[in-house]
């Protein structure tokens, strides 16, 4: 019990945070939002996977990755390939010169399904590919970089370049990838209509549960010995190395984990939005993901989710109300967050969250009718290790 409480939930303050988040996304939002807004929220929550992954690699790993879009995109494309193949049955594509292949291949004069598309007709293969391909790709990048002790700003630039390369590749090889249009017109998953409202609602809950699962998993990783080492590496890499640890392996691991988490977000994105395009792979989305994490607080797994929601909510509301001015308002929002909450939204929680946890304890005590004052534990924890 105490293992679950301390390691997975992150102590009292962490657990209260997790409960509030779960209640919000699983109960409050579905209660008050209509199906369209809920679906929109579901889309934002897929970005939250990438933001959470950045907390791991950037906040704790100390290595800024400007390429989380790569993995988000790979996960999304893997899912899109499966759905596209299902949508391209010979009956649906009868008007093409070569029926049975995706429409964009047909207009690119490709007459047979490329070999790397073949396995994506299997759903189980696709699920495995969503998890394994981005992780393996991250392993390659990570090994190449970290083993050579490339880090810091160089790593950021290189990941950014890789995301550009991937975008160019996707846009350029349009016969195989759908090019700039992306992979569109995805309608069914194993015969189940994914465009219906009920399907979207189900995806929303699946998405929420996966997200909470990912947060709990990440927390477990961060509170383990590995997490401590990660912080140590971030703060004094050489000392850890001199103590006999292979620093590179730890960094590679956390980078791979972050990649896998982003990829899950990408796959969920494709399912909920119904298409995938190269605009999620490039520099802009990758940097946006960093902004989500920064606004939420880069040391906070839950904060990243709120950061993501706040930014995207702002984007939607501002652009709906002021279609010609909204970019300026977004800029104002970023400036305000940086000026007033330098630690992001999570900073607020760290400073004032204990009021909420105190209330929680008070209520709990009232219910259990006992009086153990335990509001000091939250204050005692160092901000470094606090996992709010």
């Amino acid at each position: 019990m105490s293992f679950v409480y301390e390691k997975l939930m992150g102590g009292k303050q962490g657990m209260v945070g997790l409960i509030i988040l779960s209640a919000l996304i699983l109960v409050v939002f579905p209660m008050f939002l209509d199906s369209f807004r809920l679906n929109l929220l579901g889309k934002y929550l897929t970005y939250a996977f990438a933001a959470v992954s950045l907390v791991l690699i950037w906040g704790y790993g100390g290595t800024l990755s400007l390429g989380q879009g790569i993995f988000f995109g790979l996960g999304g494309y893997a899912m899109a390939m499966f759905l596209k193949l299902e949508a391209s049955s010979p009956e649906n594509t009868a008007i093409q010169s070569t029926p049975g292949i995706p429409d964009f291949m047909d207009w690119n004069q490709i007459t047979a399904l490329p070999w790397f598309w073949e396995p994506f007709s299997s759903f189980s293969f696709t699920i495995i590919a969503i998890l394994v391909v981005p992780t393996f790709f991250a392993f390659l990048i990570g090994s190449a970089m970290f083993k050579r002790r490339v880090g810091g700003v160089y790593f950021a630039i290189i990941t950014q370049v890789i995301s550009v390369i991937l975008t160019v590749l996707i846009v350029g090889q349009q016969g195989f990838t759908g090019g700039i249009n992306g992979i569109t017109d995805l309608r069914t998953l194993n015969g189940w209509d994914i465009t219906s409202d009920s399907a979207k609602n189900i995806f929303y809950y699946v998405n929420c549960v996966l997200l909470i699962g990912v947060i709990v998993l990440s927390r477990w990783v961060l509170t383990s010995k590995f997490g401590r080492l990660l912080l140590a590496i971030r703060d004094k890499e050489d000392r850890v190395r001199f103590s006999g640890y292979d620093v590179a392996n730890f960094k590679i691991f956390i980078f791979c984990l972050a990649a896998m988490i982003s990829a899950i977000g990408g796959a969920m994105f494709t399912l909920q939005v119904g298409f995938m395009s190269p605009s999620f792979v490039g520099i802009v989305p990758s940097i946006e993901m960093v902004i989500f994490a920064a606004v939420g607080g880069r040391m906070s797994l839950i904060g990243a989710v709120y950061g993501c929601l706040l930014i995207n909510f702002g984007k939607t509301v501002f652009s709906e109300s002021f279609p010609e001015l909204w970019l300026f308002l977004m800029g104002g929002l970023f400036i305000a967050v940086v000026m007033f909450f330098p630690n992001g939204l999570a900073g607020l929680w760290q400073d004032y969250g204990h009021y909420v946890t105190d209330r929680f304890t008070a209520i709990k005590n009232k219910i259990l009718n006992k009086s153990t004052p335990s509001n000091d534990s939250a204050k005692k924890t160092l901000p470094e290790t606090e996992l709010s």
Binding site: D34, F36, V171, I180, T184, D185, S277, F280
Partner: protein, 428 residues
């Protein structure tokens, strides 16, 4: 035509005559017979909300809401601005002459932000939350592909203004631009005849529209004109290095360069051609991707003497167009230019008005059914005359314009009215 319908057409006649936007009907006699009823209808008393709107669209006794969905920010904003301005102008003019079925048109504008998923999100918002009766919008093929499933799922109605690659015909979309064959075939015939062209060099940006267009062009050149394609090249979107292509063109000496380079690349392409000494005195160049909007960026002097195939040029000299250009400049400023897509976007609200009035309803299914009868026509279109084909595309004419230094084109050739054929047999 039923009596009711003829009444309605008279009703239109009554409201429209003053503004020249008259929808022609075949049975004038019948209409005249129904004159008293028509006058009654002209007061719009009989168009109760419950009758004209059975599917819960945003229609009240006084107004009807439509959406405009173009990019106001991002890389596409510069191209899409003209389209949304034209749509607003058309809506303003329709409102001034009494609206549609007695209702003023209200606009909800959304920003697609040059981002395809945003287009999908906003189109869903317009349809699901705002319940708009029609949407005028999208520009690139990618944005249309992104919103298409949304319109089909929510049974919305989209008026899409851009000339595009064809190979599509959705129940929920009316395409007011040319599909590929309308733009390409006649232009090629013209250049083959006029310039005795036998050899062609094809160059385009690398995405669906240029590729499909070139596929059609190649088949037409080889199979119909008996000419030869001596080179075919695609450059990535945004590419600014055309040196190697220009060298190849020099080597091959084609009779015609046939170009579909888009966006910012256009500027580099034409400037580098000029720098390499390839100008209209020595070389015929025919492009399908340059309108007045692009010329603003490229500069008329870099383009002088080259040809564009479009269906509309701002310089067209007919009363419709003169009035349109004047109204456009009054609303959006004297320095505005009007390209092909801008004009096509202007047609959207008018075609919708005609279809709604013909159907006597804002219901999407009824408006689409009315549109599919193939007799909706605009005699007041700035490009001259257009008619809606049952396949959701427009009958329109292709025009070849020769560019002048001042950024305007002189129309040197006008085709017959061309039938739209989004799935051209023999060209796929």
């Amino acid at each position: 035509m039923s009596d009711l319908e003829s009444n309605r057409s008279l009703d239109q006649t009554a409201t429209n005559t003053g503004n020249r936007h008259l929808i022609k009907r075949r049975s004038l006699l019948k209409t005249l017979c129904a004159l008293p009823a028509g006058i009654l209808l002209a007061t719009h008393m009989s168009f109760a909300v419950a009758d004209v709107n059975t599917t819960g669209l945003a229609v009240t006794d006084k107004d009807v809401t439509v959406g405009i969905l173009h990019s106001l920010t991002g890389t596409m904003a510069i191209s899409e601005t003209g389209a949304q301005e034209a749509e607003k102008l058309a809506i303003k003019q329709i409102n001034e002459m009494g609206g549609i079925l007695g209702r003023q048109i209200k606009i909800i504008q959304e920003d697609g932000a040059s981002d395809w998923p945003t287009f999908a999100e906003k189109s869903k918002k317009l349809l699901v939350q705002d319940k708009v009766a029609a949407v005028f919008g999208a520009w690139t093929s990618a944005s249309r592909k992104a919103v298409l499933p949304v319109f089909e799922k929510e049974n919305g109605l989209l008026y899409y203004p851009t000339f595009y690659e064809g190979l599509e015909q959705s129940k929920n979309v009316i395409y007011t631009g040319q599909e590929a064959t309308q733009q390409i075939l006649d232009g090629l015939n013209w250049v083959a005849k006029e310039k005795k062209a036998k050899t062609f060099y094809l160059i385009g940006s690398d995405y669906i529209w240029p590729r499909t267009s070139m596929k059609i062009a190649r088949k037409h050149i080889e199979n119909v004109l008996g000419g030869k394609v001596v080179g075919e090249e695609y450059k990535p979107l945004g590419n600014t290095q055309f040196g190697s292509v220009i060298n190849k063109i020099r080597l091959k000496k084609p009779d015609v360069i046939y170009a579909a380079v888009v966006g910012g690349s256009n500027v580099a392409w034409f400037k580098q051609l000029k720098a390499a000494g390839i100008n209209s005195k020595k070389q015929t160049l025919l492009t399908i991707s340059v309108t007045e909007d692009e010329v603003l960026g490229i500069g008329g002097e870099n383009l002088e003497g080259f040809y564009s195939i479009m269906k509309y040029f701002q310089s067209q000299d007919n009363p419709n167009n003169i009035a349109f250009v004047k109204a456009f400049k009054e609303m959006w400023g004297d320095d505005s230019v009007i390209g092909d897509v801008t004009q096509a976007a202007y047609l959207g609200p008018w075609l919708w008005k005609a279809a709604v009035e013909k159907a006597g309803s804002f219901d999407v299914d009824k408006v689409v059914a009315a549109s599919e009868e193939g007799d909706i026509e605009l005699t007041t279109a700035p490009e001259g005359y257009v008619k809606l084909h049952p396949n959701h595309h427009l009958w329109s004419k292709a025009r070849v314009g020769k560019w002048n230094k001042d950024g305007q084109a002189t129309v040197v050739y006008t085709s017959d009215l061309l039938e739209p054929d989004p799935f051209p047999a023999g060209y796929q």
